[in-house]
């Protein structure tokens, strides 16, 4: 029997084929198709009708909900991302010590991230922050009184943000790994030179782990811009549209009002926002991100 000879390259492609097929079918095709739909008037129960850029014009000139939705989304990003990064960095530094039981502690702090954007966690959050929930019971006990977290437009969005911030585990693990890579000789030299802990943190720790901070900010920004689950499950976008983020608007336009073309246009606006945020971050990175191979 003659053995079939396959080159290394071709073998690699064969192994990659399932992933490539998945990428093309589940990512590239919907990506391209959604752009086409964004240029159509498309009720999912009928054929799409090409209308050019009318959906985009309408989004930016006529749709009052879009402005509110965009503002809520950006506010959510601006509240969530910095708090999550700071929280995960602080916890990572606390856990970057050789104490007894530190492994168990690291696992416990990482656990919330495993739940991801699950419905169960969103429901739990809702119950915790209800008027009769655990948080208000505590606030009442210390004399602050009941706060209607989800009934008040000014507290609803920060409460949703707190759910995202609570799931800081994945960033924390990355910070933990980055902190371990900082050479201890740098701290020793700084100590000899009389630098304080705070000075060491700002002059050694932050610059050394800045590539990881940069990466985490980008990933968390992209995640926050696409938020859907918590707004859908907990507040349905209310009260007064204060948590009506673009992900939820897209969903309602597409699946509730059956305007799939319009929803596709919104999805491309979200994509545009992700690009803008990412480009701005990349643009500023040369001022504050330090790579080891630089002079």
């Amino acid at each position: 029997m003659k053995k079939l000879k396959i080159s290394h390259n071709n073998m690699a492609y064969i192994y990659l084929l399932p992933w490539i097929i998945g990428l093309l079918m589940l990512q590239v095709y919907p990506f391209v198709k959604s752009f086409y739909y964004s240029l159509t008037d498309y009720n999912p129960l009928a054929d799409p009708k090409f209308i050019g850029i009318a959906n985009y014009v309408r989004l930016f000139t006529k749709d009052k909900e879009f402005g509110k939705s965009l503002a809520a989304t950006i506010e959510y990003v601006l509240v969530t991302v910095p708090f999550k990064i700071i929280m995960s960095l602080v916890i990572a530094m606390l856990l970057n010590k050789g104490r007894k039981g530190i492994g168990a502690l690291r696992t416990i702090y990482y656990l919330p991230s495993l739940f991801g954007g699950s419905i169960a966690v969103a429901v739990l959050w809702k119950v915790m922050f209800m008027d009769q929930g655990m948080i208000n019971a505590f606030l009442n006990k210390i004399g602050i009184g009941t706060i209607s977290f989800f009934g008040n437009p000014s507290t609803a969005l920060p409460t949703l943000s707190s759910l995202e911030v609570w799931q800081f585990g994945s960033s924390m693990v990355m910070f933990l790994a980055a902190l371990k890579q900082v050479p201890s000789s740098l701290y020793e030299a700084a100590e000899i030179d009389g630098a304080s802990k705070v000075k060491s943190f700002f002059s050694i720790t932050l610059p050394q782990i800045s590539p990881i901070i940069f990466f985490c900010i980008i990933m968390q920004t992209v995640n926050a811009l696409q938020n859907f689950t918590s707004a859908f499950v907990i507040t349905q976008g209310g009260p007064l549209k204060s948590t009506y983020m673009l992900g939820l608007k897209l969903y309602n336009d597409g699946f509730l009002y059956m305007k799939m073309g319009y929803a596709s246009a919104t999805s491309w606006v979200i994509f545009g926002l992700v690009m803008i945020f990412t480009l701005v971050l990349f643009g500023t990175s040369r001022f504050w991100v330090f790579y080891g191979d630089e002079d």
């Binding site: 009052k64 437009p153 007064l240 509730l256 009002y257 059956m258």
Partner: protein
């Protein structure tokens, strides 16, 4: 011999044909049936499915049930991908949209027996002006004021006599004076919109807010007057604060103040009486009368149905689907099992069975009887479609929170409704 042979051949063919017919009669058919509801409805519907399968061993019904959250969105996806279940429950407001989009099978073309239904009730519920039955009403329902009679009697409030909309303010003041923790009305945004905007407008104009030919029947001034009434309801503390009610959505039975008996009445539907009563079973309830304008063109209040059930247009087994619906609606066995889990049943036969078997919920029956007194007509259609409903609910929320003046909210609603008309007409 040739005659015998011919006879033998004919008999053989007849036997084979008979066997083929028998085999096809026994062909296994599987139908999917989806609905939303609470535990009680799920359990009773599953029991009806079991009873149907026992009587029709060649038809299997695969149940798909859930709460209402996401139900409509799931149906949209299923229609788009042509994977909708053979039989499905339909929200009343979505019925006309589904009919318009051609996803409903014409049940009039099946062997379904309509003789137990009142023809006028069928015409008004599920024909969508077509003259054919595209969906079947699951029961009789309407807006309702569910009154905590125990508390009302304590305060000295009577909602069993005809009254006008202003009467709520007088009663609201009385309730707050009686106990500052109590309110006259528990009203959420969703049900409040149907009660205080749609019904109000039907009384004012005798017409729905938007006709099916995309005519807007309400002026900005009329909206402003209605929104000003809603503003007063909240400012004068007739209704519990909107910010307090918001986290409970339309689940009034989950509101701890309802459970604790702090409201005199709940603004809702006849179909929600069961859950409201179950949330606080320690007090007595009655169905209150509904408010009426003196200068009304119509009573506004009407009786229609809480949901429809329809057959998917692309089903491969319309005859079997109709057979199941026939069992569901037209057998005493099913009527006795279902009781009032979808409000008061839509046929006199099923109502009699429920009374006889003692499964007719008295409060549901009473609430339906109250709604039957009024001469309003259903505004199901564009007025109740998801997008228009959302515009009205946003206005209700803005005014109830005091975030917008009635005049500004009215101007915005008219602008948004005209925009909706431009987009869709």
């Amino acid at each position: 011999m040739s005659f015998k042979r011919t006879m033998a051949a004919v008999l053989s063919v007849a036997m084979l044909a008979g066997m083929t017919i028998a085999a096809s009669a026994q062909e296994q058919v599987t139908l999917r049936f989806s609905w939303w509801g609470g535990d009680e409805r799920h359990e009773k519907t599953l029991a009806v499915i079991d009873a149907f399968e026992a009587a029709n061993p060649n038809i299997k019904i695969e149940p798909e049930y859930s709460s209402f959250d996401g139900y409509k969105e799931k149906k949209t996806t299923e229609f788009a991908s042509q994977t909708a279940p053979d039989i499905f429950q339909i929200e009343t407001g979505s019925g006309p949209e589904y009919y318009k989009n051609g996803v409903l099978y014409n049940i009039s073309e099946t062997d379904f027996d309509f003789s137990n239904f009142d023809p006028y009730f069928l015409e008004m519920n599920g024909q969508f002006g077509s003259g054919s039955q595209y969906a079947l009403p699951t029961g009789m329902a309407g807006s309702a004021l569910i009154v905590n009679k125990t508390l009302a009697d304590e305060i000295g409030i009577d909602l069993t006599q005809p009254y006008d909309w202003e009467y709520f303010f007088e009663l609201g003041k009385k309730v707050r004076e009686y106990d500052p923790e109590c309110y006259l009305l528990s009203a959420n945004t969703q049900y409040g919109t149907a009660f205080f905007i749609r019904a109000w407008m039907r009384q004012v104009n005798g017409l729905p807010i938007m006709s099916d030919d995309y005519t807007l029947n309400v002026t900005e001034e009329q909206f402003a007057e209605c929104f000003d009434y809603i503003r007063r309801l909240y400012e004068e503390e007739v209704c519990a604060p909107a910010s307090y009610k918001a986290p409970y959505g339309d689940q009034d039975q989950e509101d701890p103040n309802w459970i604790a008996g702090k409201y005199v009445a709940d603004v809702g539907y006849t179909s929600s009486t069961n859950v409201l009563k179950a949330a606080n079973p320690d007090v007595d309830y009655i169905a209150g009368q509904m408010p009426l304008r003196e200068d009304r063109k119509s009573d506004g209040w009407f009786n229609d149905c809480p949901q429809f059930i329809g057959i998917y247009v692309n089903t491969e087994h319309p005859a079997e689907a109709a057979k199941f619906l026939d069992f569901f609606y037209n057998t005493e066995e099913a009527a006795a099992i279902l009781g009032t889990c979808r409000s008061v049943p839509p046929t006199a036969m099923a109502q009699e069975v429920c009374e006889r078997e003692g499964v007719m919920d008295a409060l549901s029956r009473e609430a339906v009887d109250v709604s039957l007194q009024y001469n309003g007509e259903s505004d199901g259609g564009l007025t109740t479609c998801a997008e228009v409903t959302s515009i009205l609910e946003d206005a209700y929320e803005n005014v109830s929170y005091g975030a917008m003046s009635p005049e500004d909210a009215a101007a915005e609603v008219v602008s948004l409704l005209n925009d909706f008309i431009d987009m869709n007409k």
